[in-house]
């Protein structure tokens, strides 16, 4: 049982939760995730570890309410407990000093890119961050991102805040302006990651994406999270979650994310099928 020590609504559908998980807090590295089970009948939900505090023994996760289990979790209060927290899982981000990097986060993906930006900054890189949302109210972690970035550019699709347009347009502008970019880290809805990967490919800029397929055990046992990378089948939970964006088959990922749409509407999980969108 892992007690909820803090809970904040970051936007209408996005919740930040701080959980007691001392062993995970000590051990986790940027890029890793946990699997949560809210209660006895709950699903296994993989979530990136956004932050941790080894002294307090806590980890931070951010999730979007997309289905029955996440809706149940969103209703839980400080002092309640999440039944199971398994982790840290997946491979940590390959963090080293490469020069100037661009960290791109879209929607709840900002929560996933935040620990990477922090680690990359810590390792001595120049960090330019681009974070985006559909509209101002859905933007998350702006202040946190500012603190770990040398430069932060905010975009909204509807122009209600920051740059009016997509994160990809901003990245294109940076490239056009001649910014030296050693690596791009792009995390967000699948269409966004696909656009960014296609954008950087002709320039040969290494582009790392973090994938969010459906998972079950998350220890390499079931193969639910299989993705195609460079034409080979990989398991996101043990081979990832980060992959070379230029080699990922995003269309297959998009397709496989839809596998349980019918079942989820049965469980009144109408939102779930939008979970790869922001």
């Amino acid at each position: 049982m892992n007690k909820i020590t803090e809970k904040v609504a970051l936007s209408e559908n996005v919740v930040k939760m701080v959980l007691e998980a001392p062993a995970i807090a000590r051990k986790r590295k940027a890029g890793q995730f946990v699997v949560l089970i809210a209660n006895e009948k709950g699903e296994r939900i993989p979530l990136t570890i956004v932050d941790s505090d080894p002294k307090k023994g806590t980890i931070t996760v951010i999730f979007q309410i997309v289905g029955k289990t996440t809706a149940v979790m969103a209703k839980m209060k400080v002092g309640d407990s999440i039944r199971d927290v398994q982790g840290p899982l997946g491979n940590p981000t390959d963090v080293h000093k490469v020069g100037q990097v661009v960290c791109i986060g879209g929607g709840v993906g900002v929560g996933v890119v935040y620990p990477l930006a922090a680690a990359l900054k810590q390792a001595g890189n120049q960090v330019i961050s681009i974070i985006g949302a559909r509209t101002k109210e859905l933007l998350i972690l702006e202040e946190e991102m500012k603190q770990v970035s040398d430069r932060l550019i905010v975009t909204t699709d509807d122009g209600s805040y920051g740059f009016h347009g997509f994160v990809s347009t901003v990245l294109q502008n940076l490239i056009d302006q001649g910014e030296k970019i050693a690596e791009v880290f792009a995390i967000g809805p699948v269409p966004m990651m696909k656009v960014i990967a296609n954008l950087t490919r002709p320039y040969g800029i290494k582009t790392v994406v973090s994938l969010n397929p459906i998972m079950v055990d998350a220890t390499g046992m079931c193969g639910a999270c299989r993705v195609s990378v460079d034409g080979k089948t990989k398991f996101t939970c043990v081979d990832g979650p980060e992959f070379d964006g230029h080699q990922v088959d995003f269309d297959l990922l998009t397709s496989r994310l839809r596998m349980y749409c019918d079942q989820e509407s049965i469980a009144y999980e109408k939102h779930r099928c939008g979970w790869n969108g922001n």
Binding site: A23, I24, K27, I37, K41, G42, E43, R44, K68, T69, R83, D84, V85, Q86, G87, P88, L89, V216, D217, T219, G220, M221, C222, G223, A224, R226, S228, T233, V238, L252, S255, R256, R258, M259, Y260, Q263, E264, I266, A267
Partner: protein
């Protein structure tokens, strides 16, 4: 003269059948198929045992259950005593009574089997263990004085649970680290409820905890702590029993289409996550109408019988050899046939066909014939040229085997593995290339049976005890 008459009487008792749920009924539920012996039937069956002076059955059992003794106790009506005799050597008798391949072990060497049917050892084991559990009078053996030594067991499957039970009884402080949220390993994620009710596994795990075994769930060793870190935390020896829990796919076109599962995923969703009770439980599963399960082992039989219970109109076993070569237990094949599973033998899939929106709608197969014997001694299947045909399917379960899970070997320097990723051990002790590190079960042998994994745990327990007590 008198003994002769007695003997004659014994031979006249036929092997007692165990009642089962009717096939037409049982495919509509997930309840257990065989219903167990009544006390009367159990006594009758137990009386068939001729109590050999030199019994072969004990040596036929990987965990050396004192078979004639527990059977005699049943024959005498001392059912609780029978359970106690079982538990002295076997921590999981209610499990073994259900899933062991007795026909290849104790029952294969039973002297009665030479002329007729062997004693139904498995059914009697199940009866005694179930009887004890039903009475609620689970007695614990006298605890040993703590010897101050700590053992870490990695994986709470049959092998890990067995060694934990054996070592805790010797006074060790034993902690089992389990990656998933429930203890039991393949007993909870793999074997379906209709073959092994989860309440039974829970009761056996409870028993071990009462003996003093500590179980830490959600702890993936290699991630939360490495083997080296366990030693640094003060463990004196480590036993690795993480299973062969990585799925094998066939690497044929279309295998990542929606509707295609590994058996591990299909069974984990249904068993561990209780997807068969969706939407009461949150985890979904595709309830296919035309389901093909690829493979001929016990896991394939479990998958195809699960598909039937999830409402499939057509449930197929697609296997590249014939029924003779099938690795599944005869009993499982028989149950599947009774339930209406359609066997497509000498058939192998070569490609999956998409419906145009990412779902599987068909499976192109090729017909096979048997050629020369291969390394396994079985005649190897050879494709027949130009014999391709398509089976309409909306769900496919790939049950062609498993391979080693790489997490522990990859994070343990000096722990040597073979070409296929399985941990190398010295003989039966389970000793690895790292001092104080032992391994057993499927991570050493590759996918095998519950009882062989338990046997490995038992032998490693002896080896670890010898190592730590300097004997």
């Amino acid at each position: 003269m008198e003994t002769e008459i007695k003997k004659e009487k014994k031979e006249k008792i036929p092997r007692q059948k165990m009642p089962e749920q009717n096939p037409g009924v049982r495919i509509t539920n997930f309840e257990e198929v065989p219903l167990g012996y009544s006390a009367e039937t159990a006594i009758l069956e137990a009386k068939r045992c001729i109590q050999c002076k030199k019994p072969g059955c004990i040596a036929g059992c990987p965990v050396e259950v004192r078979i004639p003794e527990f059977i005699q106790a049943i024959a005498d009506g001392n059912f609780i005593e029978a359970a106690h005799i079982l538990k002295e050597t076997n921590s999981l008798p209610a499990v073994c009574g259900r899933v062991c391949p007795q026909e290849e072990q104790c029952e294969q060497v039973c002297i009665l089997g030479k002329k007729g049917d062997p004693v139904a050892v498995g059914r009697l084991e199940r009866f005694a263990a179930d009887y004890e559990r039903a009475t609620g009078e689970i007695s614990l053996p006298e605890p040993s004085a703590p010897n101050g030594k700590k053992i870490a067991v990695v994986g709470a499957g049959p092998s890990g649970l067995t060694i934990a039970g054996d070592l805790v009884k010797l006074g060790y402080e034993v902690t089992v680290f389990e990656g998933l949220h429930k203890a039991g390993g393949v007993l909870v994620y793999g074997i379906p409820e209709f073959r092994l009710p989860k309440a039974i596994v829970e009761a056996e795990v409870d028993y071990l905890q009462k003996l003093g075994v500590k179980i830490e769930t959600n702890a993936v060793i290699g991630r939360i702590a490495t083997i080296d870190e366990l030693f640094a935390e003060g463990y004196d020896a480590v036993y690795i029993a993480v299973g062969a829990g990585a799925p094998v796919f066939m690497d044929i076109p279309g295998e990542n289409l929606m509707g295609i599962y590994s058996a591990n995923e299909y069974l984990t969703r249904s068993n561990l996550m209780k997807a068969y009770l969706f939407p009461e439980y949150d985890t979904p599963i595709i309830r296919g109408q035309n389901v093909a399960v690829i493979g001929g082992g016990n896991v394939a039989m479990d998958s195809v019988r699960t598909a039937l219970r999830l409402g499939a109109d057509n449930a197929y076993i697609v296997y590249r050899r014939t029924e003779v070569e099938m690795p599944a237990r005869k009993e499982e094949v028989h149950h599947a046939q009774e339930e209406g599973v359609q066997f497509k033998l000498l058939t192998n899939p070569v490609e999956y066909i998409s419906d145009g929106s990412g779902w599987v709608k068909g499976m192109k197969c090729i017909r096979m014939e048997l050629g020369e014997p291969d390394a396994s001694g079985r005649r190897s299947p050879v494709p027949i040229k130009d014999s391709e045909f398509v089976i309409d399917v909306d769900t496919v379960v790939v049950a062609v085997g498993t391979m080693a899970n790489p997490i522990v070997p990859a994070t343990t320097p000096g722990l040597e593995t073979n070409r296929r990723g399985y941990i190398i051990t010295k003989g039966e002790s389970g000793e690895t290339t790292r001092q104080g590190v032992y391994a057993g079960g499927d991570i050493v042998t590759g996918a095998a049976t519950v009882i062989l994994a338990m046997g490995a745990g038992k032998k490693a327990a002896r080896a670890i005890h010898a190592y730590l007590s300097g004997e």
